[in-house]
């Protein structure tokens, strides 16, 4: 029991450590494409360290929600990623590790962020909150359908993370099944929307009027901002882990935990390159075109869902 907790904690720190790396890699890819040298892939780490050292500026009109939200956001994201099987599964949590729990953990964090955006009473905070909730409401149907399709496999018949993971480990031959490819595509779209990336949002924009996620966190500084950034990196990791471990179940169940982490990392980097490639070739959508984007994700998920029953 002690060893399992130790491994579990080791895994948690590992995830915390690698989460910012992928944003750094995406930025590097984007710079290279523009013939620029670009910042180091470790720049997000330096930024976090810098932010942690800085003082806080807190609006005098804000309430306790403003101060609590960054931590809630960070902790819910972290809890969500810990529910997912990465390399080592900790069975002690099995009673609550359901995929739907993960979704609602993320929603809880987001609700707090949206409230905090409204809390300061600044123009952009409220605007950002309303847009962020719109985006999340739009992609939610697709996300749920993906989860249900995964769980609807008669051999799993559950949305429990461990049942799904055990099945994936046992049946690694089904890696590139049509269902998985469709679900992977839909999940990629959901992930881009949820982690505020191009074409849904532009994380590097300086234009306060076009921001979605950034507008909501515009008032934050110092330690608070560091926790929000970290929360966003981890949230991105939740979706990437879901794709890497459940939708591409290759190289799972390694007895050696380090080799398992290596393969896991490799898969994440491949997904990162995919995201980077999409970012280079796409343009930010009009805000009112986002429903179309969400519908495309939903339709791909529906196709996956139908395939589940038709192709059997």
């Amino acid at each position: 029991m002690f060893m399992s907790i130790l491994k579990f904690i080791f895994q948690m720190f590992f995830l915390l450590l690698i989460a910012p790396l992928f944003t750094g890699i995406i930025r590097k890819i984007k710079s290279k494409i523009q013939h620029k040298i670009g910042a180091s892939v470790f720049q997000p780490y330096y930024d976090l360290i810098k932010l942690l050292k800085k003082d806080l500026v807190v609006s005098s009109t804000s309430s306790w929600i403003y101060n609590v939200a960054p931590y809630v956001y960070f902790i819910t994201s972290l809890a969500a990623v810990m529910c997912l099987p990465v390399v080592y599964q900790f069975k002690g949590f099995s009673f609550y590790t359901d995929l739907l729990v993960i979704v609602y953990l993320l929603v809880a964090g987001r609700i707090f962020m949206a409230l905090a955006g409204l809390d300061t009473g600044s123009t952009f905070g409220g605007m950002g909150s309303s847009r962020e909730l719109l985006v999340s409401a739009l992609v939610e149907p697709a996300l749920f359908l993906i989860i249900i399709t995964v769980g609807a496999n008669p051999e799993i018949a559950s949305t429990s993370v461990f049942s799904i993971y055990d099945y994936a480990v046992k049946n690694s031959s089904s890696t590139f099944s049509t269902i998985n490819i469709l679900l992977f595509a839909a999940m990629l779209m959901v992930m881009i929307a949820e982690s505020s990336r191009i074409p849904v949002d532009d994380p590097s924009t300086h234009l306060e009027l076009t921001m979605v996620h950034e507008a909501m966190t515009l008032e934050y500084s110092g330690r608070h901002l560091a926790f929000i950034e970290m929360g966003t990196y981890i949230k991105q990791l939740v979706f990437m882990t879901f794709m890497a471990n459940i939708l591409i179940p290759v190289g799972l169940n390694m007895e050696n935990i380090l080799a398992g982490l290596g393969i896991y990392l490799l898969k994440l980097i491949i997904i990162t390159f995919l995201v980077g490639f999409i970012e280079i070739n796409t343009v930010k959508f009009r805000l009112f075109s986002l429903p179309n984007y969400a519908v495309i994700a939903l339709i791909i998920a529906v196709l996956g869902f139908l395939t589940r029953f038709v192709l059997r």
Partner: protein, 530 residues
């Protein structure tokens, strides 16, 4: 000559109202009229002659005749003539003058500017709010009057700014700026929105008002030239060129050496390419389309490096002087220019084809920020923004300066009025500029002087200098004082004309599209605020 025909026509049209009339500087006609008939006469000219109001300004002529002179300048674009109606008013404020803004919509902003800078009220001006000041200036202090001393301390006051408010269920006001999240110039925008769509936008500018016109007064003209170069960073050359042309014109210099004229064309076009590349790159940044934005930004740097290599300044400062250029910058550099231009031409065409083939990008810019032709005509919208809305005007064609009359080039014309259209105009203009530079390099005489001595300036003479800056029609009025000094320097940049148009173009668009529309106009704050 055509200007003479117009001179006669207006003399006949206004008949007895004309107190004094003059045709000077080849294409400038001046009519002195009484203050009581100003409105009537201006509207008469505006309605009967195909012209547009391009400038309306005042001049405190107290040292000369103890009067305040108000100038109404109309451009007759079809026949290369500037028609100026002016009226001398008593300087004590006893005489009020009628506003023409209801009949000539473009006049409204100028009238507000005169109200702030000279304290002259216009009867019946539809918008009497402050334009230049921000409610912190005492009401009786007017900076451009001759009795205003620049070193005097001005007590700080606080009055609330007025904005048009729109009320209704679900209508909110969104204040943005003056300090923005990016490294851009300051300007306050007050949006009235119903959800995302914009119902009304009001821009409050003049946060970078430096008092440039006032600072030039009583300065030697070579010093004023430095000020003119600093009106707006990315229009340095065209602004200084307009100033130089005004000085040359009022001093009777009709010929500048051919080599200087051709060199001026090269620099003006390099500046245009640089500006347009920056604009198109900005449009890509605003839509998060990073690949072409990087490409276009890189090409812009090529041109800036070329500028530096030629003149020592990336923004072409200290290049112009009245009478020509400061040095023969082009000599022995023809090959470098040609190489750079050819490299740019190839790369630019490739990048443009990438942009135009990206459906997602075109979807973003098409039907966004439509500026209707009627509004563009009423507000005298100039430059690429005007040409994209069907106002086909270009100073290079209509009031040819430097060596433009000897060159062949087209003015792009589009009629879709949206962001895409403005982008296309700029893309085509870059290609035209490349052609112009190639032509110039072929036609330019090998040897020859690059400047003439302009001698001492005639005191109290005046004239207009016009150039086509990357943003559009640029008009500088210069009146000289004694001992080679400047008595009045009035700058009207294209940004001043186009700012109100932006406020119209954003209506019914969503708030998220505002930065994109703003970028498609890419107006200068400093160039507007002066």
């Amino acid at each position: 000559m055509v200007s003479e025909a117009i001179f006669d026509t207006i003399n006949r049209l206004l008949s007895t109202h004309v107190l004094e009339s003059r045709l000077i500087n080849e294409n400038e006609v001046y009519f002195c009229i009484s203050s009581s008939t100003v409105k009537e006469d201006c509207i008469n000219v505006y309605k009967n002659i195909e012209c547009v109001l391009v400038d309306l300004f005042a001049n405190d002529t107290t040292p000369i005749d103890n009067k305040l002179t108000v100038y109404y300048t109309f451009a007759v674009r079809s026949s290369n003539t500037l028609v100026t109606l002016y009226s001398k008013l008593e300087n004590d404020g006893s005489v009020r003058i009628d506003s023409i803004a209801l009949d000539v919509p473009a006049a409204s902003l100028y009238e507000r500017e005169i109200h702030d800078m000279y304290g002259k009220d216009f009867n019946g001006c539809p918008d009497s709010r402050e334009l230049v000041h921000h409610g912190n200036f005492p009401l009786n202090v007017h900076p451009l009057r001759k009795d205003f001393k620049t070193n005097k301390h001005i007590p700080f006051q606080q009055r609330d700014l007025e904005f048009a408010t729109i009320t209704g269920k679900g209508v909110f006001e969104v204040p943005v700026g003056p300090v923005h999240a990016g490294i851009i110039e300051p300007g306050h925008f007050r949006f009235s929105v119903a959800g995302e769509p914009i119902i009304n936008l009001e821009a409050k500018l003049y946060y970078v008002h430096r008092g440039l016109e006032k600072l030039c007064e009583n300065q030697h003209y070579m010093k004023a030239l430095l000020f003119s170069e600093r009106i707006s960073g990315d229009e340095t050359f065209t602004n200084s060129l307009a100033f130089c042309q005004a000085i040359e014109k009022l001093n009777g210099i009709t010929y500048i050496p051919e080599r200087a004229a051709y060199s001026r064309v090269i620099f003006a076009e390099l500046e245009r390419i640089c500006g347009h590349l920056g604009d198109i790159s900005g449009l890509c940044v605003d839509t998060a389309y990073i690949f072409p934005s990087g490409q276009l930004g890189m090409m812009r740097r090529w041109i800036q490096l070329l500028n530096e290599q030629l003149t020592g300044s990336r923004f072409l400062r200290n290049t112009n002087k009245p009478g020509g250029l400061r040095r023969d910058f082009i000599r022995n550099n023809e090959k470098i220019i040609l190489e750079c231009i050819n490299k740019l031409d190839k790369e630019f065409k490739e990048t443009v084809s990438v942009i135009k083939n990206n459906g997602m990008f075109i979807d973003r810019v098409e039907h966004t920020g439509i500026l209707e032709n009627s509004i563009a005509v009423d507000l005298n919208v100039v430059g690429p923004a005007g040409r994209a809305s069907g106002v086909k005007t270009d100073v290079r064609k209509e009031f040819p300066y430097a060596a433009y009359s000897k060159l062949k080039f087209n003015i792009p014309e589009h009629g879709n009025c949206d962001v895409n259209c403005r982008m296309n105009v700029k893309i085509e203009e870059v290609m035209e500029s490349v052609n112009i530079i190639k032509q110039v390099l072929g036609k330019m005489p090998e040897e020859g002087p690059v400047s003439v001595d302009i001698g001492n300036l005639k005191p109290y003479s005046y004239g207009f200098g016009m150039t086509e800056s990357p943003r559009g029609e640029n008009i500088h009025f210069v009146m000289t004082g004694e001992n080679n000094t400047i008595f009045r320097y009035k700058v009207r940049t294209p940004s001043f004309c186009n700012w109100p148009a932006l406020c119209h173009a954003v209506n019914t668009n969503t708030l998220t599209d505002f930065p994109l529309i703003n970028k498609s106009f890419n107006l200068s704050y400093a160039g507007n605020d002066l």
